[in-house]
Subunit: 392 residues, 4 copies
């Protein structure tokens, strides 16, 4: 996009971030209206960021998307993570811009873009199930064909933002097929008969993501809502496109980390005795270096995704970036606690909230161990494109 | 004490710890009765642990005390930290057992032991003030002589367990004296006219310590309650006896750390896939090594306090132990989060609570930076007994 | 430069790196001819990389320079560090390309470029003295005016490559002036009467830099060799242009770090039992993530230098990058030792050499503490452009 | 032993350590006489430390032995590690003091003690082979019966002190038996026909251990030199008595670590500007805390070995201590380098040597990963006494 457009967009994002910041304590405590954060996101027009310009969206690069998510997350990390779910659902489709697709896939793509651009629909992705985690090979949700439709049945364990997103991209495998068989994706709507949601998790943090279980009781899905119009594409898709499953959220993590550093600086600026202590300055310096290194790595990985999507180097880079930031965020939070001292935790407050958020970030999939394994194997020359050996 | 007595005592402590464990979630959330934890401690007879045997107490060594505090803190860390305040107030007096004191000091000591042994009184220590922290040189609470009494005036910022302890050992400096002058300690009772307490802190963790402000509005204290019967002993006392101010709490921290490891092991034992993963085993191994090293250092420091109280080596050891455990606890908690994964933080629960408690532990005075400075200077050959250069 | 030129240049650099790699063990042990490494560098034509194109050089950006230094250092880190001294001496002058200078400065610049481009002269910078370190305020080397010349007197403690570079940019202060006064730079030639060099250091590593003392005994320097034709510019220059003093070497450090990772991978590839161990893969993954983060930060800092040289953000970034890589290199080396096991250290060999080089890198000025202080103060809002408070 | 004896012994150890310190640079460089260090050890009478008092030795506990090894290693780590090999060979036999053995074993034990006490013989243990490492199940050295003797054949890859020790305890398996079968130990003498040694390793460090290959070409060993007079005891022994294989060396590592800290303090004491810097003091404090924690853990583990040899808790403790110190030593060395700055590495010198020694210590078996695995599994409730699953 051109510079003027970018400026306008960034202004909108910053305004939304400011609004989120004002609501973040309420969102965290669960006292806010369920969709407080997401309303701000919709109103700022942030649902079309990756939709191609020719289809009416902003057509942002992955790097620009990552930067916008960071800006938003400085306001409220939970809402930014929730918004990222929208792009986890539609992001790879957006990236097909300009490439020809089979007729059924093309119709599907057109429908999706219209839902987002013309009708302001919010999507999300629902894969994880109890016992399977995010490993798609192990899911139990099934589909069966019934005339021109599919019938879905199962329970997704952690869907966000549950009951707020309009459409849910659901992973399911064919009824009767073996566990390890290939898997398909379907779009289910919030109000489809048979769809219901549990209560949002009263988790230790990030309640603003509005994560809940989602139950599908014989939900009928018309053939047009089969993802890309073909069955069995899911696993293939995941192995080839980890930048969404692994690293879409990185901007949000960066924003949380940036918030922690900003808060630390703000607290120290109000306490000249501590601010002028060489030991504290060195501590702040260490946090700042760590954050800068993580940001540089995240941006470098996002740039690689833009330049050579699907390459081993890009895949390795996003896994490295995910590990780096997931490992950094809680360390940064603890460092901030030490620098700011007990006073900062005397009551519920921003640092206490950020500490909880950072801890939780470090364990969402793809988890640090999984990322490390990817980078280690890739560095040691293993073939990372073999879907058979992938643990997804 | 002999082995049979020890067994009986340990049984009592374990029972109290079990009771605390059952109440710990309620204590943490603030829903429990204010004195729930302390009632269990009183009922188990844990107020006389350090009182000399000839005065009717258990006459425990510092090492044994540390181990008992650890056992208790495995049940509930906040209550153990609160109990430690009782011994911060009377511990150094207990250690004078067997040594002759001037008449006034001897009368004072006798009175204190009777209050604890015969009347079951709980003491605590109140030094910190807003703006001065725990640095006794900078306090603003004053006393003035009025006939055979003293009149105290001022506000202590973080007293625990506020309103629950019966007696409060208050640091105050003479009215009109310069900031840096020497300081005296007085015993004030909960119900003395002019004593009032603020609401307990709604802190991020450790609400069970019942920490609050305490205001003294012209509280009249009879001369018999002047600590050791002499004015101006406070700073001297602090510099010579850091094992209480710095390291009385170490057992409580160890207990919190031990709880984290136990919880991690319990969670993994219920998940064979994770338990059998070499990477998880190595992670658990790392936590266990770190905890063992910290415990060995805490015990070695406590043993030194028993063997050569007041030596530079003992002082350095307690500062080293404090730094080590304060730095370990939050690291251990984060490690546990990573090992256990997001599920462990899905709702408020023990790990989430322990994470908050560990973070808060790392910043209570003497803070890590202060401890490191002590160890560094001592190692580099500075004179650590010079009260003029001490920053207390 | 255009793509074809770049390809040709990169080929030359890679060839030089290969040649250096073959000689690196000999260079390290001190058995090689003193200028073995530098001959390869001269022959590859790497002395004009930053000289503006209109003056006959390659006119590389700081980022491209950093990448080339990395490629070279993968061959031999010591030689790359020695080459960087050439650019520490002339780099900031190269950056004045296109900007008008006073007549004397312009003549000086023209002379320098001709020396490099037409006569193949190698420069270096000589600031540090015993007792002053790299802090220019504290040097003792003096100059005095004598007609149209200056007479220099003093001893520089660590000059590299000593006796190999043709010209030496010498910091000196006016005789009789106070320590803290401003300082000037002069160009002295290897063969000027009164110039002599000590024996190269038999340092623990990086012997290939050929570092030695340099003594100036009443060396006469004509006015045309006063740096930029004006006195007293040195301190000003240093505070404004830390990218050279702080971060010119970063490419060389990256190359050393990259060598360590490559060697680790090579050793594991020859040992399938270790290569297939999940724990080793995770260890390699960790090294790779750390190196990628450091590289991303170094490149981001270099890009900032190119885009907004002299800005607070660029200065902070180069200090952050220096700290990050200096802290990483030895950690990476130790990690490699652990991964590769005792066998890798059974005799003198590449890993053992890289371990020594990495350790030494971590302490060359600007040292980690100094960098951390800069980043910490900058983050906390201090004015970093105040030459009075700078510790240089 | 009683206090007077201890004082005399400690004086002898300190004298030997002083002598070793004076020779350590020469020992390290390989310029010293091959047995320089071991001669000092023999002369100080340090070969009988663990031999029971009733057999003419000092009968030290494992804890006292560990402390003496530390004192010695402060002088020269390599020699202390070499001496430990003597006790790896005879230590577990010494621990049978007071317990009745079968007649053949008893005769063997008596012979060993006489060799040490009356004839001043030095022993060592030789297990590791190329390709098998220290894993006894995978060795290739064989024995076969020939009348009343055994004939041994094979090559041990890293024997120390090679050619200096008088007797070598050799692990071998029966010719023709499967790899995984049980293994026996034999005592071979330096001068037995068929015994030869390779050149000592020119390793990166610890050359003073005099490590070399040892070849056995049909060496005839009389039945009386079969370890404990019975075949097939080796694996059983290793799994039950890891305190020698894993942790005999811990005192030596502690001594190396202690040397690093002492050297750092000495260097800073000569540089008041650095000594008085708060950042350096904190750095020194960190090193001192880490070393104290490691020492406390090593001593606690050694005490457990003395109190409950063979218990799961004692085994876990020695593995934890090994991991802790192996991980600490190189970190401590790097920290010292950072604190002391480049000057400390300007030439070959004590810090440079200690850095190399610390790095090498971190990878000798049992390696850190193996120790971590033991502690992790033990903590997670695995049965660690199952010889079938052991990887030895």
């Amino acid at each position: 996009m051109d510079a003027a457009d970018t400026t306008v967009l960034l202004d909108r994002v910053r305004e939304a971030a400011d609004e989120l910041r004002r609501g973040s304590a309420e969102i965290d405590s669960g006292r806010a209206a369920p969709d407080l954060g997401y309303r701000a996101v919709r109103e700022a027009g942030l649902l079309t960021l990756l939709v191609p310009r020719e289809s009416g969206g902003e057509g942002l690069s992955f790097l620009d998307y990552t930067k916008i998510l960071e800006t938003l997350a400085v306001g409220d990390g939970a809402t930014a993570l929730g918004l990222n779910m929208h792009y986890m659902a539609i992001g790879s489709l957006c990236e097909t811009a300009g490439s020809e697709l089979p007729a059924a896939a093309d119709r599907f793509r057109t429908w999706i873009f219209r839902e987002v651009v013309e009708r302001g629909r919010m999507f999300t992705s629902a894969t994880a199930e109890t016992g399977s985690g995010a490993r798609i090979r192990h899911i139990h949700t099934t589909y069966r064909r019934a005339g021109d439709s599919y019938i879905l049945k199962g329970t997704k364990s952690s869907v966000s933002p549950a009951g707020i997103a309009d459409h849910y991209v659901i992973a399911a495998r064919e009824e009767g097929a073996a566990i390890a068989d290939e898997v398909s994706h379907f779009v289910v709507s919030k109000d489809d008969p048979g769809v219901s949601f549990g209560d949002p998790w009263d988790a230790a943090a990030l309640r603003g993501t509005r994560t809940a279980t989602m139950t599908l009781s014989d939900v009928v899905v018309p053939r047009q809502r089969l993802f890309l119009g073909a069955e069995g594409l899911s696993l293939f898709k995941l192995v080839r496109e980890p930048h969404w499953t692994v690293s879409g959220c990185l901007g949000a993590y960066l924003g949380i980390a940036e918030s922690i550093l900003r808060l630390t600086v703000r607290l120290l600026r109000g306490d000249e005795r501590r601010r002028s202590s060489p030991a504290r300055q060195a501590d702040v310096g260490r946090l700042a270096v760590d954050l800068r290194a993580a940001r540089a790595l995240v941006h470098a990985a996002a740039r690689l995704v833009d330049e050579e999507k699907g390459s081993l180097e890009a895949h390795t880079a996003v896994h490295a970036a995910k590990y780096c930031i997931a490992e950094l965020a809680p360390r940064l939070a603890l460092g901030a606690v030490r620098i700011c001292g007990a006073d900062a935790l005397r009551g519920p407050g921003p640092l206490e909230r950020l500490l909880r958020e950072a801890s939780l970030c470090s364990v969402t999939p793809a988890g640090p161990e999984q990322c490390l394994e990817y980078v280690g194997k890739s560095t040691l020359g293993y073939n990372m494109f073999d879907t058979q050996t992938s643990d997804w």
